[in-house]
């Protein structure tokens, strides 16, 4: 499946990749390409990427889903549309609690709990849970043809795959009943033993953690217990969506050695999970040495006699002019040689991937994408950089 059919046919595209490779911008560019091909598209990003709002022609980007003004690019959108939002962890958690809390009192207790506040606001691991949650809402109830999810950078990227399972396991009856025997209204000897075990465990944990924290956690679990079923159902559904045939995974990397190493780790992790990688996009993976044709990847320039060429166009050229011309040539030759090295890094990553996985290469742009036309240009370069059956030089 070509890159354009990936975005034409999938219901969800998950972009994973290391930090600093332009993954968020690539996700937005893919969304733009899909929208212009007539699909109703939503791009969800987790990273606070400020430039993205500009690139999409929006005033700002936050938890509210906004419509991107595609008219700027001309009238021909074939009925497609593009919307975007940045997942704000705190706001999304509150919205989730609002949806699944059984009553106003439970909701108020959760929102006031310090553990809840810490988890939902300042602490890192909660991002993956809420991203899944937003994804579930968007795919299930958003009415979009395509949702593109831009995941957090490398190390945490696959947390998102584990998040539904973790959450479900964490909230399973056993954990809750260990600490709050009344939550499950247990009876009988077995239950009393569990309750007793819970007390002992609490004593131990207080030794390890100190006061307050544990009390707050128990409070947190107590209110969460009432919402457990809602959580688990949604987590299971989110997991199904991630493993559905309509979901595509796109690995985004650059051609820098460290990005490629991180990407290789992600690739192996995905393959190990039996998740098919549908495309690898190498963003900024070569220097365009043909200024008139930036999509063209060249690793070598013809040998020319620079002095003779200069004299042919400027017969009176002095020594300084000749020296500048030679330096210009050397600079461009050096860039072509760099491309050759980039090529080796790309090949190293690609060789381990199954043949049906698309390889896409996009050039390094001189400036960051800063408006919709710039994003559209990147989208075109991505579609043009799609190489069928590409298997190295």
């Amino acid at each position: 499946m070509s890159l354009s059919s990936v975005i034409d046919r999938s219901a969800l595209v998950v972009c994973v990749g290391p930090g600093g490779v332009g993954k968020t911008t690539v996700s937005a560019a893919l969304g733009l390409a899909a929208a212009r091909a007539g699909r109703k598209t939503l791009v969800l990003t987790i990273d606070p990427a400020r430039r993205l709002a500009d690139a999409l022609g929006l005033d700002g980007l936050d938890d509210t889903i906004r419509r991107v003004p595609l008219e700027v690019l001309g009238p021909e959108n074939h009925g497609g549309s593009l919307s975007a939002a940045m997942v704000d962890t705190g706001a999304s958690y509150d919205a989730l609690i609002d949806r699944i809390a059984p009553d106003a009192e439970t909701k108020a207790r959760v929102l006031a709990n310090r553990v809840y506040q810490a988890v939902s606001r300042s602490l890192s691991r909660s991002h993956a849970y809420i991203a899944m949650e937003r994804l579930y809402e968007a795919v299930e109830h958003g009415g979009y043809d395509l949702v593109i999810l831009d995941t957090p950078p490398a190390r945490n990227a696959l947390d998102i795959l584990d998040a539904p399972g973790h959450l479900a396991r964490f909230l399973d009856g056993r954990v809750v009943s260990w600490f709050i025997p009344s939550a499950e209204k247990p009876s009988g000897i077995g239950a009393r033993l569990v309750a007793k075990g819970g007390q002992m465990a609490m004593g131990l944990l207080t030794k390890v953690t100190g006061e307050t924290l544990l009390d707050e956690i128990v409070g947190f679990l107590t209110v969460f217990a009432s919402m457990r079923d809602g959580f688990i159902t949604r987590a299971q559904r989110a997991e199904e969506i991630l493993h559905s045939d309509d979901t595509a995974f796109v690995l985004v990397s650059s051609a820098s050695p460290s990005s490629a190493d991180d990407a290789a780790w992600l690739r192996d992790d995905l393959l190990g999970r039996k998740v098919a990688v549908d495309a690898v996009i190498f963003n900024q993976s070569f220097v365009p040495v043909e200024p008139e044709a930036p999509h063209q990847l060249r690793v070598q320039l013809p040998t020319i006699d620079t002095d003779a060429r200069v004299r042919a166009v400027e017969p009176a050229a002095d020594a300084q002019t000749l020296a500048v011309a030679r330096a210009m040539r050397a600079l461009r030759e050096h860039a072509a040689a760099d491309n050759q090295r980039f090529q080796r890094i790309v090949d190293g990553l690609v060789n381990e991937l199954p043949a049906q996985c698309r390889r896409v290469r996009a050039p390094r742009l001189d400036q960051e994408v800063r408006d919709l036309p710039g994003l559209d240009q990147l989208a075109q370069l991505l579609l043009r950089g799609d190489q069928p059956g590409y298997a190295g030089p």
Partner: protein, 331 residues
């Protein structure tokens, strides 16, 4: 906040040698080369007879690939060039923490072997970060056979900006959450360590592009306000150099001449050079902006080949990184 008034007149921290701190922390936006800078400074420290330890947080392939070793785990291992490296895996750090803080090994085992308890413990907010802090303190306390600290300096490759902030401002994040107890003591203790300029320096790594510089300026401003950590240097990585910055007129003339005579190859050379010079000029402007807004010494590191870094490259970078400050006014 406007540019720090008179920062040029303020005595700068780097009057003390950069490598003579126990903890060198590194952070910056993803992909700017934090690990490379940390690794090259570690090599430099080893070259000066120190016993550097590079610490990565969590699973990452970066240090492994920089030093060309097959695995880096929770136990420090030599990675060549006089450098040791380790990776603080959260799970292992949590187990270590529990073993240290429970009255008996039996209890620690009881918790560790109890899936429910272990899961609960790991799911608690900030536990991973606190266990990491615990591991860093243990490394700081280790002494060698001669009775001197075993690791010096300890170079910590913090995660990208967001995670690093969480880590540096841990005391603030957990202050409402934790009453008296070992975790609270550890967090308070670590906060003092980070803020102590004689023991710790935070180095920022950035690129000479608009967005990374803006993020660096904002990060610096936030940390100035929170007073969470004492600052070291800002490393501007991959600074481009064409050698043609003064030749723009000649380039423009050649471009026009090549275009008029239809020499496509020469024309492309000139266009490419003009583009590269423009990139260099923008980079220079960003470095100047950084120098104006950040009261930290700025050190420029050259853009090296995109291929695997060789040890010589790392040595070269390390020597520049630990060397005199390239103040932005000098160019």
């Amino acid at each position: 906040m406007q540019a720090t008034a008179g920062h040029a007149g303020t005595p700068r921290a780097t009057e003390l040698p950069i490598l003579e701190r126990r903890f060198l922390l590194f952070t910056g936006k993803g992909g700017v080369g934090k690990s490379t800078v940390a690794a090259s400074l570690a090599i430099e420290a080893a070259g000066r007879g120190q016993t550097p330890l590079v610490v990565e947080l969590g699973h990452r392939a970066t240090m492994r690939s920089i030093f060309g070793v097959d695995a880096i785990g929770f136990t420090p291992r030599p990675v060549g060039h006089g450098v040791h490296a380790m990776s603080v895996e959260i799970d292992q750090a949590v187990l270590e923490y529990m073993a240290q803080h429970l009255p008996s090994r039996r209890m620690a085992r009881a918790i560790v072997n109890n899936g429910v308890l272990e899961r609960l413990f790991k799911a608690m907010p900030a536990v991973g970060e606190i266990a990491t802090v615990n591991a860093l303190r243990r490394l700081e306390a280790e002494v060698g056979h001669d009775g001197r600290p075993r690791w010096s300096p300890i170079l910590v490759d913090l995660d990208a900006t967001g995670h690093a902030l969480m880590f540096l401002e841990l005391r603030h994040a957990v202050s409402h959450l934790m009453g008296a107890g070992p975790m609270r003591r550890l967090v308070d203790d670590m906060a003092r360590l980070f803020a102590d300029p004689t023991r710790t320096r935070l180095h920022l790594v950035t690129l000479p592009d608009e967005l990374p510089v803006t993020e660096t300026v904002e990060l610096h401003e936030r940390l100035v306000q929170s007073k969470a950590v004492s600052f070291g240097r800002v490393f501007v990585n991959r600074v481009p150099h064409t050698g043609l910055a003064e030749a723009t007129e000649v380039i423009a003339r050649l471009q026009a001449a090549a275009s008029a005579h239809g020499d496509a190859e020469l024309l492309a050379d000139a266009q490419f050079a003009a583009g590269a010079v423009a990139v260099e000029r923008r980079a220079r402007a960003q470095i100047d902006r950084l120098g104006q807004h950040v009261s930290m010494p700025v050190v420029e590191l050259p853009r090296l080949t995109p291929d695997r870094m060789q040890v010589d490259d790392l040595r070269r970078l390390g020597t520049i990184a630990a060397g005199p400050v390239t103040s932005s006014e000098s160019s």
